[in-house]
Amino acid sequence: MAQNQPGSTDQSLVRNFCIIAHIDHGKSTVADRILQLSGIVEQREMRDRFLDRMDIEQERGITIKSQAVRVPWTVDGTEYTLGMIDTPGHVDFSYEVSRSLAACEGAVLLVDATQGIEAQTLSNLYMAMDHDLAIIPVLNKIDLPSAEPDKHADEIAGLLGVDPSEVLRVSGKTGDGVAELLNRIVAEVPAPKGQDAPDSPARALIFDSVYDSYRGIVTYIRMVDGELKSRQKIRMMGLGTVHDPIELGVISPEMQPTKALGAGEVGYIITGVKDVSQSKVGDTITAEVAPAEEPLAGYRDPQPMVYAGLFPIDNAQFPDLRDALDKLKLNDAALVYEPETSVALGFGFRCGFLGLLHMEIVSERLRREFGLDLISTAPSVTYDVVMEDRSEHHVTNPSEFPEGKVRSVTEPMVAADIILPKEFIGSVMELCQEHRGNMGTMEYISPERVEMHYTIPLAEIVFDFFDQLKSRTKGYASLDYHESGEQTADLVKVDILIQGETVDAFSAIVHRDKAYSYGVMMTKKLRELIPRQQFEIPIQAAIGSRIIARENIRALRKDVLAKCYGGDITRKRKLLEKQKAGKKRMKMLGHVEVPQEAFIAALATDEPTDRDTKDKIRAAQKAS
């Protein structure tokens, strides 16, 4: 058992580090192996992937929320205390990565020896370098026959400017090299250098906060200066609120209450407060008595880049959706939302996300953890619209696009970095061009792999860019992007009209060149999805008052049971009852009944592939 006790461990014995890795590169396996080697988790207790706690994380094999575990490790008879802070691997969560990095002095750069470094890992690596963290490069999965450690060691050495022999080789699966990794962490990661004199004012950084249904809000902290005691009143410096902590502790690997936490240590605090807004990630905690004067440098609040409407299928679930979003917001500062009303979909929220995966994860958590049945509208970015009369509009929802003469529309741009095997350069260039990308530079990071730099409108990326990139490169390409200014472009709003009435949920802001394909695709889809009714239903796509595509749902001519004798009567009545129940899932748009399924299916993205659709798009473009 560990000798070093929380609250009385000298800073010089503490090493705080995180692991930077791409999805599937084996970070959780290595982390689990570390827990096991250190003796804090018995072999028999090992669950696969101890640290990934959420179901979704386990299923998708990705880490969304960071966890912080205290691990003892002895080198040459001295026991050290390692703070292992888990980090998310996906591009959408780089904001969370930066929070984890701020709590560490070192980072393990973990790369799959069969695949090499990926674009997102590279971007996180650069972020770690910006934070002046000590980097320990490691190749994982060396046990696999397809591993190419020499090749990838050269690649990493080139990126870091170190000798290839300094790149450690481990296997999370067999445990090979993991002990050596821990030794390297002790040797190379600097000890924290906070103020630890007995009278130093306490300062702790909140780097994460989660809602636990049994314990309430659990706040993860990194002590920077001084000491916090379990029975001491604390103050949130940013919010100015004071709390009586119920519990102070460390995770090793289960929650373990302690009497104190000292400078350099990582742990958690529970205040019993249920209001999620009372525990703000990035805030500084100090003691109420003898408080610090200056808070620590916090985090920049992340800016949402993608917006979409989330609507409960059953509008009675609206308050539940609000509660659920409030709870998710607690440890997801990037999530923003405000109530929205849609003529077609009723009451819901306009939500801002960091990216598409973030959006997917949030909607999936809402469905799974909160049992909500949701429709989400197509993702959209924010536009700045200037009208001829010089009035300016910030548009996060296509249905709010102003009517009238538009002078200019400005859209957000991203700098996209794509790493890919060189044989796919041609098809990736083509893809980027189709998505209005401007090529910057291109470098070879190894003889086989290149990194390409593009400037692309964010709107082009949020739809299906990533899926297409993957499919055109047999899954080998990786993508990272970050905000990079804005540009004006010839963008228009395309409305979809059902029986002459605009359906707000289907409006989209697209480049003029793509307006036709959006219009044709959407009208065709809706024609398939909306059942025939007693009257003809025109479905149109329009830019302003100009119709660019039209489909017709012909009037239903026959809806009658052939026979109605003896037992048919009971059967018909049961059909009628079933039909009545089905009506409840219908939305009325004017006189038109539209099944909920039609909204969901129409908002799902896909490529126009059939000939008829392509012909119609061409015809519409010619006519313009």
């Binding site: 007693q534 049971l561 052939a562 109605c564 004798y565 003896g566």
Partner: protein
Amino acid sequence: MAQVPYEVYVHVPFCLRRCGYCDFNTYTAVDLGGGVSRSSYADMAMREMDLVKEWQLSHDLHEPPAHTIFFGGGTPTILPAHDLVRLVAHIRDLWGIEEGAEVTTEANPDTVDAAYLAELQDGGFNRISFGMQSAVPHVLKTLDRTHNQENVVSNVDAARRLGLRSSVDLIYGTPGESVEDWRTSVEAALELDVDHISAYALALEPTTKMGRMIASGRLPEPDDDDEATKYEIADELFSQAGLEWYEVSNWCRPGNESEHNLGYWRNVDWAGIGPGAHSHYNGLALRSWDIHHPKMWGTSITQKRVPWADSETLDSTMCIEEMAILGLRMREGLDIAAFEKAAGMSIPDVTLAEFEREKLATIKNGRIIATRRGRLLNDAMIAQVVAAVGA
């Protein structure tokens, strides 16, 4: 409560072969087990009648003499004519038969001949419903029907000579049937000079041979628009020939309505005899149905239990739904006052106005009467009327 008429329906669950589109409760085997076979069937059915009569009396139901009797199937005429006649006689013994009552059997045109029909006539039958389906050979073949139009012509003639009234059934919308094929069949039916014709859209059941062939793409899928066109042609040609519609799928010269079927739609009492047959007792708001499989059905009768699989008592919502279903399908229409009384609520004027504006119905003498368009969109109208009174 006023005494409603009483009818008896007898289901005969045997066929020579099963047609590809049929999902009715019928079997091609001669012996179905449990003591039920073609030769014992009439006796079993008579024993069921005895049990039903006992049940009625134990519920204080004293039914009047039968107003109509109807034999359906399956193929009732697969049984010897003598069996059908014995069954009619048994009904007479148990309940009596009204003077001039309508006594009908369905018949496949190739299972009967003049001698057979004469025996039926002698035993009290006065109406034959022939399953003509189509006059076009390739359509009959797709339907797996073994008869031809000559069988129909000769049997309708034979029936006429015996003083039996005839009706023919037609099916439209068979895969591969053109609009011209259908017109040919309608005209052939009219040439028979019968005074009653039923025409049904082919009801496609996924579990049938035809359903599977369509699902796998070996036969084209029926098309609602095509069926609507065919319905309009039939309605046009029938009414030109003096046969007026009196229910969505039924036309006749005035006075030649099927009394038996009218009874279903007017909610009279009827006893359904035979596997899977449904019964209805208006005063009890009760619908019941016989055990589906003939073997279990026979076992129940042998053990002297009324062979019902289950029953349901209609609540007020169900009654309202049924009133709408039955009323709107008929030319006499839905009695607005009676419907509103049952629903405890008025049909809003806007609903009625919309029916007229949309040319779905005319409102006449306090009744909603479907137009041709309203007949074709009958199910939608039913849903609207039911929704309009909040049921």
